[in-house]
């Protein structure tokens, strides 16, 4: 029985970006070796790590989605562990998604973000108004006090 999985792996930024293609190819071959079929490929680019891993402070996050037989997952995991280029990896089972569903999800996430930023902006605007009024009052008080 084949299941759908998602693999996210971390490559140290010590490797130049030209080498990434070779590493990608290596992981791809590894998945294919265990008769996995790649359905989706993504990259999150160079990012700062939350904590140093093997003295690396930056890394590239790369992602594959693939179909694989459940029994072969353990072997794939072991092989990924042995790859020197990969600092960390995680394989998670996932529901298969079509390209359309993926786009819809992205849109929904964006909508949530936009709504939130608007709420924050509104709050900040209110704050600004109150502060201005307060400032005027305070200025009046201070000036008035000085004159008397």
């Amino acid at each position: 029985m084949t299941n759908h999985y998602e693999l996210l792996y971390l490559v140290s930024a010590a490797y130049p970006e030209e080498d990434l293609a070779a590493i990608k190819e290596k992981v791809k071959d590894l998945i294919k070796k265990f008769e996995g079929q790649i359905t989706f490929e993504d990259s999150f680019g160079k990012k700062k790590l939350a904590y140093p891993v093997k003295k690396a402070f930056h890394g590239y996050y790369l992602l594959y989605e693939f179909d694989l037989e459940g029994e072969k997952l353990k072997d794939l995991n072991n092989n990924l562990k042995l790859a020197n280029e990969i600092l960390r990896h995680i394989v998670v089972s996932k529901k298969p998604q079509s390209a359309q569903q993926r786009a819809e999800k992205k849109m929904a996430a964006k909508a949530v973000q936009i709504a939130e930023t608007q709420v924050v902006e509104d709050k900040e605007k209110d704050k600004g108004k109150i502060k201005l009024e307060d400032l005027d009052q305070r200025l009046d008080e201070i000036l008035g006090g000085d004159i008397i």
Binding site: F44, Y51, V53, R88, I90, K95, V112
Partner: protein, 76 residues
């Protein structure tokens, strides 16, 4: 005299229920960031208002993100 039981109707304030999120993605750090404290601990549902079923998924997602160095285990 025993007090009559007051039933308070609280508004639903689970972030994920409100936004109709069914699965929490461990790669979505900006969302997960709201649910960790300044020491990078997972915020208890009592404080964040997340419902119990989403809290279970959330804690799983945060732990996965920690392993992948997307989120810190701790801040000094």
């Amino acid at each position: 005299m025993p007090r009559p039981n007051e039933t308070k109707v609280r508004p639903k304030n689970c972030f994920f229920c409100v936004n109709n999120v069914k699965e929490i993605d461990y790669k979505d750090i900006n969302t997960l960031r709201r649910f960790i404290s300044s020491y990078a601990k997972i915020v208890p549902p009592k404080r964040s208002g997340v419902c119990s079923s989403h809290q279970r998924k959330l804690s799983q997602a945060i732990k996965r993100a920690r392993i992948m160095s997307l989120l810190p285990f701790t801040n000094k």
